[in-house]
Symmetry: C2
Subunit: 204 residues, 2 copies
């Protein structure tokens, strides 16, 4: 277990900060946000109860880092879906990228609700620099591309991120809490929502 190793010596772990965040992600994903504790995390990682305090000011800062890591996972999932698209028509490609990015966002909310929860819970108290690539950044790239390909207006380019993110984020949040019925229903609902996003952007 990489989370258990202490390298290079037995005393110094070597990558404790990263291990703690990784263990935090695992813990939150499998047992929920409330189960996150500095002590248990330290022990699982193979160090003493208070070792984490050498890397995080307090529990809130640790949570903020796990939150950021969750958003990074989400960002990677979005990029992975975008990379998998097979489409030669540049216009269709631009639209497909927005669609897949949004669908990946929704899938993340459905499949990993606990990570989605911590990803977007008030995490700005301990100030963090925006991760790269962030979901917000990816969305803006998609809209940039749509604008370059003349598929949306300048005004829509300006308001689009707000509209698209609100809709997708809102649905993902509701779906992650099973507000929207079964998974099968949610799949269909996701299509409705994504189609509605495209309509809102008034794609030409």
């Amino acid at each position: 277990m990489s989370t258990l190793k202490k390298s290079p010596t037995e005393f110094h772990h070597g990558e404790l900060r990263e291990s703690l965040i990784t263990a935090g992600i695992k813990q939150v994903e499998s047992h929920g946000l409330n189960s996150l504790s500095l002590r248990q995390l330290s022990i699982v990682t193979g160090v003493s109860q208070t070792a984490a305090y050498r890397h995080f000011e307090d529990l809130e800062h640790l949570k903020a880092e796990v939150s950021k890591a969750s958003r990074e996972i989400l960002g990677k999932m979005m990029l992975a879906r975008i990379a998998r698209i097979d489409e030669s028509d540049p216009r269709k490609l631009a639209i497909a990228r927005l669609w897949e990015a949004g669908d990946a966002y929704i899938e993340f909310g459905m499949r990993r609700p606990n990570l989605f929860e911590i990803a977007f819970i008030s995490y700005d108290s301990p100030k963090l620099k925006p991760e790269d690539p962030s979901p917000w950044g990816i969305l803006n790239s998609c809209l940039d591309e749509l604008y370059e390909k003349k598929l949306i207006s300048a005004e829509t380019r300006k308001d689009g991120p707000l509209i698209a993110w609100s809709m997708v984020h809102g649905f993902a949040g509701l779906a992650s809490q099973r507000f929207t019925g079964t998974v099968r229903e949610t799949k269909l609902s996701a299509e409705i929502v994504l189609n509605s996003v495209l309509r809102s952007l008034k794609i030409r």
Copy 2:
């Protein structure tokens, strides 16, 4: 203080359950979700540390009730805004009702972010019956009215709740965390979002 009184006798509080929920709302609103504790709540309410256990199975169940109470507050705010509308044209009235309901929802997220947070945090573990009137119910009433007035299609009546709620809920959540800049900007953004909802519903 109603939360402190023990009636009718000194031993029995009389309305402890309601007092605890009310105190919980206050506590969450002013000091955040994490500050909620059974012990402190009991003491604030004027009873012993463990009195709350006669009314709530555990902390999670107490949270679920505070969550439900928060949604009820939101529902009342939406209804209050709807009731304040002065509009004689039935069609304009129906549209205004949806607008005001959505705007109240967004305002709730902005002005009372801590209540908004607990209102829509995974609260379904301890099963609860839907409160009355729920935000979801109010939204559906608005769409019913739009449909009766022939302002939206049957299909939109079906998909509308999902679309409208996703958009408004998503934006409210983002706004409650100041993702969208200053309050002034948020006011403008709210208009953009609500206009986008109306466009998505393809009002005739």
